[in-house]
């Protein structure tokens, strides 16, 4: 019972709690990463577009302004004037194109995307185009130049600028977003672990509490923290434990009361019974002279009074066990000798054989043990008496020192074996119950019904145990195992 209660939490708790913690962590992580990615992605895209739009807008405005500024010279643009326009527009990465011929940065003309040149020519509007040149993002813009009253001059101005700086800023944004996401993931994991802990701690405490309660510690109560569902669960657990403790305490009190009542009654009966036995013994002695029905009645009276006295003695004995007042008076005892004397004293020698038969010269080695001889005598007497009453001959009693190393290390066994009808399996353990009757139809027997129970309690007091083996053809075998070092 205790072992089972201890095993259950240790085998089941870890996998369960790890599962919940892992689930919580994964869920937190997914939510955080999902929302973080969405937010970061959206803000990344808008920030990138803002950066690009801003730089492009600035670049295009500058191009327009430069053309206007450069053309502020009165005589423009013809011949050398076109070259002057180039100087004014900004010589670096700028080219003036007139009739497909570039003036200024020559090689630039070939790098301008054909699509952009076509668009500028055909739409006659300011246009721009982004390309990638050997891994570097580049912005090209081109515009036709018209006079202030809108007449096309045939002049086109193209400009190029690198977007590497913008690329760096955008990459910085990406790195920032990654760093923030990583930090958020770490925070999510920590929060998930804390949350899991806050959930799992009361659950674990409940599990331990339940195990303790199951193990018999009825005073187990758990501290109620907070006011959430788990606190409610803990409160319910405490209520249940309190009610269980109440019921068990009440039952124990009632049982103790009834046992004390039995003990009291037995004690009260003892004195009048002693007087009655004295009287019935006298009556018994006179029975022969009464003759007829009177003699029979006197014998019945005597027998039943003795049985009643035995019963009361047994009840008092049982009461001592129940009250925990049974005491052991240990001495070194030769078990074989004790068994033989018990059988001889009770007058069972003709029907009971002690195995192995003691040699007349006492050559058989003594089997000694530290035990209470009076109680051991009761055990043997009750077991053998039971065999004599309910079993059939041959009845044997074997005494052995089970020196087998291992389970029954250093034990002494007393085996009482009869060849009666045997016991059905379900009856075997119940034979030690008080007032157990093997045959329910048989209301009365010679015994008190307490003999085997008393034997059981006595053996237990010695730290030993009684095993019952029985099969229909073989009769019943009671084996008493007593530890040789009876320290109890």
């Amino acid at each position: 019972m205790t072992a089972a209660a201890d095993d259950r939490p240790t085998t089941r708790r870890p996998s369960w709690s790890v599962g919940l913690r892992a689930r919580l962590t994964v869920a937190f992580l997914l939510v955080t990463l999902g929302s973080g990615l969405a937010a970061a992605g959206l803000s990344y895209v808008s920030a990138r577009n803002a950066i690009l739009d801003e730089s492009q807008e600035q670049f295009l405005t500058q191009l327009r302004d430069n053309v206007a500024d450069a053309s502020s010279r009165p005589r423009m643009p013809s011949g050398d004037a076109l070259a002057a326009l180039v100087d004014q527009v900004g010589p670096e990465d700028t080219i003036v194109v007139y009739a497909d011929v570039g003036i200024g940065d020559g090689p630039l003309l070939d790098r301008i995307p054909a699509q952009l040149r076509r668009a500028v020519r055909e739409r006659a509007r300011l246009s721009f185009q982004r390309t990638v040149e050997s891994g570097e993002p580049v912005l090209y813009a081109g515009t036709p130049v018209t006079t202030s009253n809108g007449v096309p001059t045939g002049v086109e101005v193209y400009a190029r600028t690198s977007l590497a700086a913008q690329q760096d800023r955008i990459d910085g944004l990406t790195r920032q977003a990654a760093a923030v996401l990583t930090a958020a993931a770490v925070v999510a994991v920590v929060v998930a672990l804390v949350a899991a802990r806050s959930v799992l701690r009361p659950v674990r405490a409940l599990s331990r509490g339940a195990a303790r309660l199951g193990g018999g510690d009825l005073g187990t109560r758990l501290p109620v923290r907070g006011n959430d569902e788990l606190a409610g669960l803990v409160r319910s657990f405490n209520d249940a434990a309190a009610r269980l403790e109440d019921s068990v305490t009440r039952l124990q009190r009632e049982e103790a009361n009834s046992r004390r009542f039995v003990a009291d009654v037995s004690h009260e009966l003892r004195t009048p019974l002693a007087a009655m036995i004295a009287v019935t013994d006298t009556v018994d002695d006179e029975a022969a002279r009464l003759g007829g029905d009177g003699a029979a009645a006197a014998r019945v009276l005597s027998t039943e009074t003795h049985r009643l006295a035995d019963l009361v003695e047994n009840l008092i004995e049982i009461s001592r066990f129940d009250a925990g007042r049974a005491e052991l008076h240990l001495r070194v005892v030769d078990v074989r000798e004790l068994v033989e004397r018990t059988i001889a004293t009770r007058g069972w020698s003709p029907v009971v054989h002690v195995l192995p038969a003691g040699q007349p010269d006492g050559a058989a080695p003594p089997v000694t043990i530290r035990a209470d001889p009076r109680r051991l005598d009761v055990v043997v007497a009750n077991l053998v008496g039971n065999a004599v009453t309910h079993g059939a001959e041959p009845i044997t009693v074997a005494v052995a020192a089970a020196d087998v190393p291992g389970v029954d290390d250093d034990c002494v066994t007393i085996t009482v074996h009869d060849h009666g009808p045997g016991l059905p399996p379900e009856e075997r353990q119940r034979v030690f119950n008080r007032f157990y009757k093997a045959d329910a139809s048989r209301g009365r027997t010679e015994g008190s019904g307490l003999g085997l129970a008393i034997a059981w309690e006595n053996v237990r007091l010695h730290g030993g145990r009684i095993d019952v083996a029985s099969s229909p053809g073989e009769g019943t075998r009671f084996t008493v195992s007593l530890p040789r070092r009876a320290d109890a």
Binding site: S78, S127, F128, T143, V145, S148, G150
Partner: protein, 136 residues
Amino acid sequence: MTRLCSWVLAAAVLTVSACGIRPTGSIDAGPGARASWESAVVYFLHDGRPYPAVRPDLDSAGPQELVEALAAGPTTHEQDVGLRTEVPPSVRLVVDGDRLVVDSPGRLSRAALQQIACTLQRSVTVGVDHADCPVP
């Protein structure tokens, strides 16, 4: 599960494609740049098609002078970039009531007519078919 995978894949593709600075096509960004001056424009021929050339000194000139400028031909620099003219020096422009009459001793080529039409379209209403001038 397959649907989930395809969603994840689509999201990944979108994410990757949304990263960095992507190349574009040519994008319209508004009207072109304007110079700060007004100028007359005459049309010479470039690859057989009318092509404008500024003549700031003719800004307030009449049609006759513009046609004379066409006959005078492109400047040295304009010749260097491949402009030429087909309008002969003998061409005269005669005002006949509300009409302008191009008077030439010989037969004018279609390109020459286009040159004249495109050059004059700014100052007068010209009824020349297929005047294939560059858009303003």
